[in-house]
């Protein structure tokens, strides 16, 4: 992975300023990478707001910057310029040390390849983020984990290892894990990319339910049919959002 220009930035203490009502607010975000072939601009002044309970899809060709965009929102990567506000925190100013804890509480991340820990059972995978966050008692954690597994229809597989479950089931568990700490924002990178259409549908319905319950859901996908079913589709090309004037998105009230 090429070094990022923003790697030179020294993180400073978090400054939480009251942001807009939007759970996700990107303002003129730029991301440049240094490669042996020269500087490469992955995001070119992207601005985007996503409201609570809004379910958006980010689409675009490979290399258009959609994964980079997601990584900015989750704090996995840092912008070269601009501001990124998520759940009321300017994410780009968090230190690496505090980032993990912040992320665990505020952002649920769902990866394309499920990324369940193979040595933990289904329920243990869901419990793990709560263990890191540490605010709930043991009993509360277990109760919540079972509740979440019920929501994703995986209660019967609670004590199984990931190896004993299908791809679709693993993705459901990944969604439950992403919800473990009741994060207000969910980010999913190609969550149905490795699933058959029936399973993909079922997973998508889960996202819809979560959005209806007030979560902000941002999904990167190649599946234009699924994208069309979301509240809003954000098109990206060459590091920019190519949608029209309403790219800032409707305010969800």
């Amino acid at each position: 992975m090429p070094p990022s220009i923003s790697d030179a930035r020294v993180p400073v203490a978090t400054t939480v300023r009251p942001a807009a009502t939007h759970p996700v607010d990107l303002r003129d975000v730029v991301k440049d990478y240094l490669t042996d072939a020269g500087a490469f601009r992955a995001l070119d002044g992207v601005s985007l707001t996503v409201g609570a309970g809004e379910f958006i899809a980010v689409v675009g060709k490979s290399g258009c910057g959609k994964s980079t965009l997601l990584n900015m929102i989750t704090g996995i990567d840092r912008p070269t310029a601009g501001e990124i506000w998520v759940a009321g925190t300017e994410v780009s100013r968090l230190s690496e040390r505090t980032m993990a804890g912040w992320r665990g509480r505020n952002v649920g991340v769902i990866f394309q390849f499920f990324q369940l820990l193979p040595t933990l059972t289904v329920i243990e995978n869901v419990l793990l983020p709560m263990d890191f966050e540490g605010s709930r008692s043991t009993r509360e954690r277990h109760e919540r984990a079972m509740y979440l597994l019920e929501q994703v229809e995986m209660v019967d597989q609670a004590d199984k290892l990931p190896l004993s479950t299908s791809g679709g089931q693993q993705q459901r568990v990944a969604i439950a894990r992403a919800m473990a700490n009741d994060a207000p924002v969910l980010v999913a990178d190609e969550p149905t990319g490795n699933l058959d259409s029936v399973t993909a549908d079922a997973v998508f319905e889960l996202f819809e339910r979560l959005a209806r319950s007030g979560k902000t859901v941002i999904m990167v996908t190649h599946d234009v049919e699924l994208a069309a079913r979301t509240d809003r589709v954000v098109h990206m090309a060459d590091g920019r959002i190519t949608d029209g004037p309403d790219q800032a998105g409707p305010h969800v009230g």
């Binding site: 996995i76 040390r97 933990l120 190896l163």
Partner: protein, 795 residues
């Protein structure tokens, strides 16, 4: 793919992964070093010991007499069939008085003609040798007991109480003699003129012979020695003891052989450990390069060509390791050989390790890693391109095995703790290899402590067996009642038991005779010996010719049974005894116990004893020495000459000195093995972090802090260390039993009294805790530094 490009890859891999290269090189080097050091030390000792010993023209047989004899008898013996050379000596025990008032026993030996020595040559070491009249030359091993130099003057006191000054002319070296520090007694040489000046006559009391046939077996030598003894006794000289050692071998040869069997076992263990570590590391290297292998195959690389690259890498590791191990082993072998030579009082003159040892090291340094790497390399290159390019991190396989299923049922712990535990068992082959390496070091370490404790327990058993503190040997037999009464007057003496001593040979039914055996005649109700009866019973006061033998006699007399009649020749007289019991053997030499009254009747000599066993109130080494000296003074003042006083501390201290040197060496080796095992653990943890970097990214994505990640990996490392400790502790039981049997036979000629050392087990627990912590902390820290961006962001 051209050869030069392949070599570039090999060089590149060596340079790029320096920590891994260092680990594999260290693993190979330790095995080659251990084997080279032990084999080299053994070779140097054998070369120098036996060759050096042979150069001194060692005696084939030695006889010690109760009455003196002259040169005429020596000439007669020299002319006997089978005898090549014969020589007489005289040895007396005096006391050397220190300036601080202390006195130390000294064995003074007079040779008939220093310029024309024929047997057991004594050579010059420093200053002037041989000494002249009124001069004395010290055997060089005496310098460990006291400082003395040519030109000094020393004062001696004879058993008769007279004192004389002798000038120290120089130092001598007698390779075949027991070193002075073994028994805490100085060794020195004087002329017969000096001996006469000190009050002795110039008769001999030792006869040493060499035989015509240099290839004669021990049995053949013994037959010649028996003829010589008979001839000597016919001349009216009483032979008290005859010694026939194994021909052509230094007396310490058996001891060294046993020790080297043990060391060889440790060398082998270190080699096995080295192999496991190499296999472990190479399998990880290959696993990490799976995609590269797939790519090489995709561009036309054949299995053999690709395997050749990795085997060339392994050979490179071996060559680097040998460049370190060969010179290091040569140095260590020379150092160890010199240390052992110092303990055995001979010199290492030929210092070059035989080439065959170097060849063995080269073979080990190249073959062991090749064999260890063969399977993982072949497995790696046999993968199809599709398999190799597809990610196969092992995550796909977790959950198949029974262990995985069992661990999945583990509940009640936090998930991070469960991660640590289950990840420990994830790569089972790698875990086993790591455990074996670490456990082997622990096994050796704990075994050494157990063997040490077992030796101490054995020596304590021996001391309990002989329930005395000081043994006083009289210069001449004296009246038992007088000796006992005088000894009991000394403050601190609680018990004074007079023992008779004689030398006896068994007259076997087939007409042959045994070697001389030590026979003790004990007073009725003796308390200074507490034998452990294995069969039959102990002596009963007042019974006739009853005999109890120690169990190690049965090795040479396997036909004997309790109840048998035994014919013995005791100082020329043929007698008959009944074997009533077999007792445990406390020392390497077999003993015969009889009642002193029965022995006196057999010898026709009543009421006189040669030994007094003293029990003191103070059992410390200093107390025994102090009271023993007081008893000597008392008896000498009463006109009873004393030949020697020996405390039990003197005897046990000598064995401790010898044994502790060996224990120290083995302990150092085992710590080295442990450190390499720790390196193996560090390597394993490093590989685990690298392989699980994506999972680390996941757990950081879901909220794990640096500390949480660090603790997960640290806990895994500590768990591996704990399991290795447990396995090592369990393995150390049979291993230490084997070691204590082997070393017991070597040092005290019987298995040691086995005693597990909990101190060793605990100490190793602490060592392995620190090794595991140090071995895991850096990989764990590295894991904690991994960011999500590094491993997940751009898949």
């Amino acid at each position: 793919m051209s050869g030069s490009v392949r070599w570039r890859k090999v060089r590149g891999d060596l340079g790029q992964y320096r920590a891994r290269t260092a680990l594999v090189v260290a693993s190979i080097a330790i095995g080659a070093f251990a084997v080279g050091t032990i084999a080299g030390t053994d070779a140097l000792l054998r070369q120098n010991l036996n060759d050096g010993y042979a150069a001194t023209r060692p005696a084939a047989a030695s006889m010690y007499t109760a009455t003196g004899f002259d040169r005429e008898l020596v000439d007669v013996v020299r002319a006997m069939p089978g005898v090549d050379q014969a020589e007489g000596r005289r040895s007396v025990i005096v006391r050397l008085l220190g300036a601080d008032g202390t006195a130390r026993e000294m064995l003074l030996t007079a040779l008939p003609d220093f310029a024309d020595q024929r047997i057991d040559l004594v050579g010059p070491q420093a200053g002037r040798f041989p000494p002249r009249r009124s001069e004395v030359a010290f055997e060089r091993s005496s310098l460990r007991l006291m400082d003395v130099a040519p030109g000094d003057t020393v004062r001696i006191r004879t058993p008769g109480g007279r004192e004389y000054d002798l000038d120290v002319s120089g130092l001598a070296h007698e390779p075949g003699a027991s070193p002075a520090f073994y028994f805490g007694r100085l060794n020195a040489y004087v002329t017969f003129e000096t001996l006469r000046d000190l009050g002795w006559d110039d008769s001999f009391d030792e006869l040493r012979i060499r035989v015509d046939d240099p290839t004669a077996t021990r049995a053949e030598v013994r037959a010649i020695a028996d003829d010589v003894r008979l001839r000597v006794e016919r001349a009216g000289v009483s032979v008290t003891f005859a010694l026939v050692p194994e021909p052509g071998q230094h007396p310490a040869n058996d001891l060294l052989q046993s020790v080297f069997v043990v060391l060889g076992g440790i060398g082998l263990l270190s080699l096995v450990m080295s192999g496991f570590l190499v296999a472990n590391t190479v399998s990880v290297i290959v696993a990490q390069q799976t995609r590269q292998i797939g790519l090489m195959k995709a561009v036309g690389g054949r299995d053999g060509q690709i395997a050749g690259i990795y085997l060339a890498l392994v050979i490179s590791y071996g060559l680097i390791a040998l460049a370190i191990a060969i010179p290091a082993a040569a140095l260590a072998a020379h150092g160890l050989a010199s240390l052992a030579a110092g303990l055995l009082n001979f010199d290492v003159t030929q210092a070059l390790i035989p080439l065959r040892i170097v060849a063995v090291q080269v073979a080990i340094g190249l073959l062991v890693p090749l064999v260890a790497a063969a399977v993982p390399v072949w497995r790696g290159v046999r993968m199809t391109v599709r398999e190799a390019i597809r990610d196969s991190s092992g995550a796909d396989h977790y959950g198949h095995g029974r262990m995985d299923a069992l661990l999945a049922r583990l509940h009640g712990l936090s998930r991070p703790a469960l991660l640590s535990i289950r990840n420990t068992f994830r790569r089972k082959t790698r875990l086993v290899l790591t455990l074996v390496a670490l456990a082997l070091g622990g096994t050796v370490f704990m075994s050494v402590f157990t063997v040490r404790d077992s030796l101490y327990a054995t020596l304590e058993d021996t001391v309990r067996y002989f329930n005395y503190d000081v043994q006083v040997e009289l210069a001449e037999p004296a009246r038992a009642a007088t000796v006992t009464a005088e000894a009991l007057r000394v403050p601190g003496v609680l018990v004074a038991e007079p023992w008779r001593f004689a030398s006896a040979q068994r007259l076997r039914p087939d007409g042959t005779e045994s070697a001389s055996r030590v026979m003790f005649g004990l007073p009725p109700g003796a308390t200074t010996v507490r034998p452990v009866i294995m069969e039959g019973r102990w002596l009963v006061p007042g019974e006739g010719n009853a005999l109890v033998a120690t169990a190690n006699l049965l090795g040479d007399e396997p036909d004997l049974r309790v109840g048998d009649t035994v014919d013995l020749r005791i100082q020329g007289r043929e007698t008959t005894w009944t074997l009533v019991g077999i007792a445990q053997s406390p020392t390497m030499a077999p003993f015969l116990y009889v009642g002193s009254d029965a022995l006196e009747r057999s010898l026709g000599d009543v009421g006189r004893v040669g030994i007094v066993m003293i029990g003191t109130s103070d059992h410390s080494a200093a107390g025994q020495a102090r009271i023993g000296a007081a008893v000597r003074e008392r008896l000498e003042a009463a006109g009873i000459g004393i030949a020697a006083t020996t405390t039990t501390s003197d005897v046990t201290d000598t064995l401790f000195t010898l044994f502790d040197t060996l224990v120290l060496f083995i302990s150092v080796m085992s710590v080295l093995l442990g450190v390499v095992g720790g390196l193996g653990l560090a390597g394993t943890m490093t590989m685990n972090v690298v392989e699980r970097s994506r999972e680390i990214g996941i757990i950081r994505a879901i909220g794990a802090t640096d500390q949480a990640v660090l603790l997960i990996f640290l806990a895994e490392g500590l768990l591996i260390g704990f399991i290795a400790w447990l396995v090592g502790a369990l393995l150390s039981l049979p291993v230490s039993w084997l070691l204590s049997t082997a070393l017991g036979e070597a040092f005290v000629q019987r298995p040691l009294s086995f005693q597990v050392s909990w101190q060793g087990v605990l100490l190793w627990f602490m060592v392995v805790f620190w090794l595991s912590t140090i071995g895991s902390i850096l990989p764990a820290w590295r894991a904690a530094r991994i960011t999500v961006r590094e491993v997940l962001a751009y898949e």
